[in-house]
């Protein structure tokens, strides 16, 4: 197990990786609550981006509707908790099949009817919009007035109910991000992973080589959807509120994919690095603005847009591949 885990990790990259992990583990003692919350948000985006990356980065299927799986995860867990007192981990266990089913339906329709490329992307948006409007009018989940997870003061952190202070949330999302990273590390070196890469590079050739492309694309969608749903569960319990307009919106889908794109699509470190770069820069920008007393809504978004523009124009492969070459670690692309 350990040998397989460290497969592909060179000695040169082992030390920085260990240092990074140690720094992340020690973070709650090193930084204040504000920075810790920042780290939680960064890891949350790193996690969601990694989950999206399974579909786009590995299997080459561009989804612009990942807000759907996020929202479903959040709504399933929050509804079970508020209505029946069922904890978020069991909620996650229910969210997995729900999100997977949604992914499977979209994947089945798209891949059976050969909806591909940009049409596939639009189909995924359409389903997310369906959900947004549907939840906006569904009274059981309080429609557009939003679903709230009750906030109570807890004397102790309760990780089973995901109620507690930022430190607890931090370790939960750190654990999830590391686990997903390891899962992706195995996936991309597995048989399924190689089939995905073959499909990504040339689907016709992959089919000619005897790969059941329909089946492996379906696996990619379902795994990606299931993993994304946890980000939704975490979102619901961290922010304690869910509004269809927010969780299912196209902005949410775009926000999820910014990290991996900036970091590097199809790489393991890309989504996490991208989230750090993006949030770090955004935070720097907002402190500069506060220092100058500027308060304008939308400036951060314009900044995101400009960052995305620069990366797309100047670094089409993202930040990670050139950085990895510079550090002399890893392969730039699996």
């Amino acid at each position: 197990m350990m040998a397989r885990l460290t497969a592909g990790v060179t000695r040169r990259s082992a030390i920085p990786l260990a240092l990074l992990l140690a720094a992340l583990l020690a973070a709650p003692w090193l930084v204040n609550d504000y920075l810790l919350t920042m780290l939680i948000i960064i890891l949350y985006f790193g996690y969601a981006g990694q989950a999206w990356n399974i579909m786009m980065g590995f299997a080459g299927q561009l989804s612009l509707g990942h807000a759907l799986y996020l929202g479903l995860g959040g709504y399933v867990a929050a509804t079970l908790f508020t209505r029946f007192g069922i904890g978020p981990w069991l909620g996650f266990a229910v969210a997995i099949p729900v999100a997977s089913a949604a992914g499977a339906i979209i994947g089945f329709l798209a891949f059976r009817f050969r909806v591909a490329g940009i049409y596939f992307a639009i189909l995924t948006i359409a389903f997310a919009e369906f959900a947004r409007i549907g939840f906006d009018n569904w009274d059981y989940v309080h429609a557009s007035s939003g679903l709230f997870v009750p906030v109570k003061q807890y004397a102790h952190n309760n990780p089973w109910l995901l109620r507690g202070d930022p430190t607890m949330f931090y370790y939960v999302i750190l654990g999830a991000t590391v686990l997903l990273f390891v899962l992706c590390h195995f996936l991309v070196r597995s048989r399924v992973g190689y089939f995905w890469l073959a499909i990504r590079e040339d689907e016709t050739a992959a089919r000619a080589a005897g790969i059941d492309t329909f089946r492996y694309k379906m696996i990619a969608v379902v795994v990606s959807a299931a993993m994304t749903s946890f980000a939704g569960v975490f979102y619901a319990f961290f922010y304690n509120n869910l509004f269809p307009e927010q969780v299912f919106s196209i902005f949410r889908s775009v926000e999820i994919i910014l990290g991996p794109i900036i970091g590097g699509i199809g790489t393991l470190f890309g989504p996490i690095l991208g989230a750090f770069v993006l949030k770090g820069l955004a935070e720097a920008l907002s402190s500069v603005m506060t220092a100058f007393g500027i308060d304008l809504p939308g400036v951060t978004q314009v900044f995101y847009g400009v960052c995305l523009l620069i990366v797309v124009v100047a670094l089409p492969d993202g930040v990670w591949p050139p950085l990895a070459r510079l550090l002399g670690i890893g392969r730039s692309k699996p």
Partner: protein, 290 residues
């Protein structure tokens, strides 16, 4: 409900749909020739809407007067955009092009938000409350003018592509890129012209749209999606298809708003999109792509 109510709503829907159709026409023309999907389409439309609102209020003129000037401004914007930014991306993968335009869309929406704030803005017109009456059928004057202007603009564009030399050259470039290069056409310039014309459609449609709805910066993404739904329904790359798709979606939205709740109306547009994607992916009037 009496039949007149349905008819009134249906006619209103068709007229709105014509403006939708003109907007979608821009998307279709750009895709048909340049083969780039303009993901910032609705955002460009909000730019036109705000131009119309600001100029109408400042100059005390009617939006109909501003139709051509605003279309011209958007033409220049589209031309410059294609020349300066998008041209490099023509040979890049689809998702790369898409991300470029999404970045642009985010920048446009939020720049508008910074300048104008999130509040809705309207245009006051002399005929804002007028209507034409034919028996029991009442047609909003504003909607009638908007629909008529949309048809005229679309017709002008159609004539341009069909009968002028430049129009023919653009179609030649769309049919056979290499062939167009071989006979010595400046394809880059033609692409830029096409993007400009597509943007001009959006400019005209946006100006007309101010007669129908209030302008807010956040309309952008929903209009982008709407334009996609229309163009895919009508057939990506087909000019009449875009107008027919627009009318169909306008009608569907209007009737869904009447029969169900108005907030659920775009759900029906998406339902049509999903059905079209699955059962007739080339659209109503589109040709099947290889």
């Amino acid at each position: 409900m009496p039949l007149e109510v349905y008819l009134n709503v249906a006619i209103g829907g068709v007229l709105t749909g014509l403006v939708y159709g003109l907007m979608a026409l821009g998307l279709s023309v750009i895709f048909g020739v340049v083969r780039v999907v303009n993901f910032a389409h609705g955002e460009m439309m909000t730019v036109a809407m705000f131009l119309a609102v600001v100029l109408c209020t400042a100059l005390h003129v009617d939006p109909l007067v501003l139709l051509v000037p605003i279309a011209a401004v958007l033409f220049v914007f589209g031309y410059a955009l294609q020349r300066g930014l998008i041209n490099v991306f023509i040979t890049r993968p689809e998702h790369s092009q898409f991300l470029l335009l999404v970045a642009l869309a985010i920048i446009i929406t939020n720049t508008l938000l910074i300048i104008f704030g999130p509040d809705a803005r309207t245009v006051e017109t002399a005929y804002g409350f007028d209507s034409f009456q034919f028996g029991g059928i009442i047609v909003d004057a504003a909607k009638a003018y908007a629909g008529a202007a949309a048809i005229l603009f679309a017709a002008a564009l159609f004539v341009f592509f069909r009968f002028t030399l430049i129009g023919k050259a653009i179609r030649a470039g769309a049919d056979n890129h290499t062939g167009a290069l071989v006979v010595g056409l400046d394809v880059k310039r033609l692409y830029a012209l096409t993007f400009g014309l597509g943007a001009a459609c959006v400019g005209a449609a946006g100006t007309m749209m101010t007669l129908l709805v209030d302008a807010t910066p956040l309309l952008g993404p929903s209009y982008t999606l709407l334009a996609f739904v229309i163009v895919i329904t009508g057939g990506l790359g087909s000019m009449p298809g875009a107008l027919i798709g627009g009318v169909l979606i306008g009608l569907t939205e209007a009737l869904a708003g009447l029969l169900f709740t108005p907030s659920a109306k775009s759900m029906f547009a998406f339902a049509i999109l999903v059905l079209v994607l699955l059962f007739r992916p080339q659209g109503i009037l589109g040709k099947r792509l290889a």
